[in-house]
């Protein structure tokens, strides 16, 4: 199931050879005015390999995923992608680094622009990076059609907007969107937590076909041990964090904590 580390295909890998696709060193991250959610966590995803990060809701693994995807600047620690250190986050990250990562969020509804049809949703990264001209529908279609078919989206569905499709169908589109720029690292943050068994199997198969074809690395985050055991070559249990005894408002992602177990 996992492709070998030697499997090549992406430009970044050819340049960097055996450097890990993702290396997180001593990351501490959190949100202003609150104790850090992630404390001194290190994680490595070797090139071409699949790593699963397992942990209960609210343990900080989604924050760590956002750090890895350059969407959230850590308070301390360093990140490198294919051996290249990351110096900026969000729009301060160089485009080549940003676009080498594909990210699938847990909630497709909040991750999709309600105004776009599914075809435009999938093509948006191509247009945003000017890989295809914004008005050139045919060029975008060339990329979108085969990718959409690989996640099981066909025909009429691509012309619909998010409110006209199910969560499962929308998540298929979100996966296709994450793959459209051919990332060398794919991060799936609870990609299938809301989905039924059949859609889950479809999406995981689509990810694995893409990886077999391109040699991309995978960081899959979740709490479903049977699924991640089946899916990924290596499992990492997220270290349990001590939780401050005082209650009070918590960050939105911190939902379930150790002392309630």
């Amino acid at each position: 199931m996992p492709s070998t580390p030697e499997a090549s295909g992406s430009a970044v890998q050819r340049e960097k050879g055996p450097a890990p696709a993702l290396e997180l060193r001593s990351i501490t991250a959190g949100y202003p005015g609150r104790p850090p959610v992630v404390r001194d966590v290190s994680l490595t995803v070797p090139a071409g390999e699949s790593v699963a990060l397992l942990g209960p809701s609210g343990c900080g693994k989604s924050t760590l995923a956002r750090v890895a995807a350059l969407l959230h600047r850590p308070d301390a620690g360093s990140v490198s992608l294919h051996g290249a250190p990351v110096t900026g986050w969000r729009y301060r990250a160089p485009r080549a680094q940003r676009t080498s990562i594909g990210f699938v969020f847990q909630q497709p509804r909040t991750a999709a622009d309600p105004r776009l049809t599914l075809a435009d949703l999938i093509a948006e990264p191509l247009r945003a990076t000017r890989a295809v001209p914004r008005r050139d529908r045919a060029a975008a279609d060339e990329h979108v059609r085969p990718l959409a078919a690989s996640v099981g989206l066909t025909g009429d569905l691509l012309t619909r907007r998010p409110h006209e499709v199910s969560d499962g169908q929308l998540q298929r589109a979100c996966l296709a969107r994450a793959l459209v720029l051919r990332p060398s690292l794919l991060i799936c943050d609870e990609m299938t937590a809301m989905l039924d068994a059949s859609t889950t199997a479809t999406l995981v198969n689509a990810v694995e076909s893409y990886r077999a074809e391109t040699g991309a690395a995978l960081l899959a985050i979740g709490h479903d041990r049977p699924l991640l055991t089946r899916w990924c070559a290596r499992l990492v249990d997220y270290p349990a964090l001590p939780v401050p005894a005082s209650a009070g408002p918590r960050p939105p992602s911190l939902r379930e904590t150790a002392h309630h177990h």
Binding site: S57, D167, A197, N205, H223, R225, T229, E256
Partner: protein
């Protein structure tokens, strides 16, 4: 034997406008099932198969563009075992329980007649049902509880519920004043979204208790504590607002609200969605515990693992129809599901073959005339595309899987399957993928 809830031929149609044309969406079609008191039925299926619509229909919570037909008879009074479980908590819930035992439910009920048949019942108070409950209550209902697959699903099975209340034809006033919270408790899909964000859990519980029961002002504080206790909600978190609660605690708060009215029927709509595995296990165990105290649970879920843990029986829905209705032990264990869709659904689990079902479910506004699963089914023959199979002997299929497992082709049990085949892309189903080409 009298079921607590008897649903017959329930259909829901939505009228929607898409691309400037009016369409009728067949969300639920011809659903029929019985729920015995003390039983847990899991309604499973892929998202969009109509299972949540079915739940909303039972509570009269569908939007205005929905049309509902069929009937859903609810036994007019809670079984006695339930009442005792509640009063044992020390809450003065009896005052609120004089509810719907009123008109028409007395004479035609088989009170006492069945009581002798109540052997093997999971209801703890079967022996003393006659004692304090009076002739108006449905008693002796326990016979069906443990019998699972033996329950009749024919059109006449609801005969014992002649005095019952039809949830589908009841008006909003009846639903609001007698049904919701009192006869049917809803455990919602997203507890955090179900709770009022600007009020504490204590204040929400107090309001619900005040509305649903006759507890006096002086006793309200104690009743709130008892209600929280019943759902294992920690008393020291009662003064928090919903956003300060973890997912698991919000779930318990919502469950506590659903239990307040002493409703004999609990309706849980995807109660485990978005929770992590440990929390799912705990939520399921807690729900199962409430079933153990005499309540009846209809759990709607796409989480097959959760369904396996909790259910006595399983109903599988596909494209708005119940395609299989069977005993949970035989469904998840041996001989396994009989409907090809149900078999493929179980095969999609990561603990089994992890093989996706090719294609996608049909659009509910353009259902084929034959079996809705035929285009995705490896066993389909021409008759499947023309004739709609109806639910017979618990399965709606022209070619149900034989209950006798063939060597090497039966689906392994979860417990027998600690390690996994090498390639998840390789479907390990018994059916060749001959129809794949049609849908890729």
């Amino acid at each position: 034997m009298s079921p607590l809830l008897s649903v017959r031929d329930l259909s829901v149609r939505f009228t929607v406008h898409r691309s400037r044309s009016r369409r009728r969406v067949a969300a639920v079609t011809g659903a029929s099932f019985d729920l015995a008191p003390g039983e847990c039925l899991a309604l499973v299926g892929e998202s969009g198969c109509g299972k949540s619509v079915l739940a909303s229909a039972l509570l009269g919570l569908l939007p205005a563009n929905a049309t509902t037909t069929g009937n859903a008879l609810l036994a007019p009074a809670p079984p006695a075992g339930d009442e005792r479980a509640l009063t044992a908590d020390g809450t003065a819930l009896e005052n609120g329980r004089g509810l719907p035992t009123g008109p028409g439910d007395g004479p035609n009920l088989p009170t006492g007649a069945d009581a002798g048949a109540g052997s093997g019942s999971s209801l703890p108070t079967d022996a003393d049902t006659g004692a304090g409950s009076g002739p108006g209550l449905l008693t002796g209902v326990g016979a069906g509880a443990g019998s699972g697959p033996g329950l009749p699903t024919g059109a006449d099975a609801g005969a014992g519920l002649e005095g019952g209340l039809d949830l589908l034809s009841a008006g909003e006033r009846v639903l609001a004043s007698r049904v919701r919270g009192r006869l049917v408790g809803l455990i919602p899909q997203s507890p955090a979204g179900h709770l009022t964000p600007v009020r504490t859990i204590r204040s929400q519980l107090a309001e619900t208790i005040r509305e649903l029961t006759g507890v006096s002002k002086a006793d309200l504080g104690g009743a709130v504590l008892a209600a929280a206790e019943r759902a294992a909600f920690p008393a020291d978190h009662l003064d928090l607002h919903p956003h300060e609660l973890s997912g698991g605690l919000a779930q318990r708060a919502a469950t506590a609200l659903a239990l307040v009215g002493g409703a004999p029927l609990l309706l849980a709509d995807e109660p485990t969605t978005g929770l992590d595995r440990d929390l799912v296990d705990r939520t399921v165990a807690e729900l199962r515990g409430h079933v153990g105290t005499g309540r009846t649970l209809l759990m709607i879920t796409h989480d097959l693992a959760a369904a396996e843990q909790i259910a006595d029986r399983v109903a599988v829905m596909y494209a708005g129809r119940i395609v299989e209705l069977t005993d949970a032990a035989s469904f998840f264990g041996s001989p396994g599901p009989r409907h090809p869709y149900a078999r493929r659904l179980l095969d999609a689990l990561p603990t089994r073959a992890f093989a996706p079902i090719p294609g996608m479910p049909p659009e509910l506004d353009a259902l084929p005339s034959g079996c809705a699963f035929a285009p995705r089914c490896a066993a389909a023959t021409p008759v499947c595309t023309t004739d709609l199979p109806l639910l017979e002997n618990g399965v709606a299929c022209h070619h149900p899987h034989t209950p006798i497992p063939h060597p090497g082709t039966d689906i392994p049990r979860l417990s027998d399957h600690p390690e996994f085949p090498a390639d998840p892309a390789e479907p390990a189903s018994e059916h060749p993928e001959k129809n794949d080409a049609l849908h890729s």
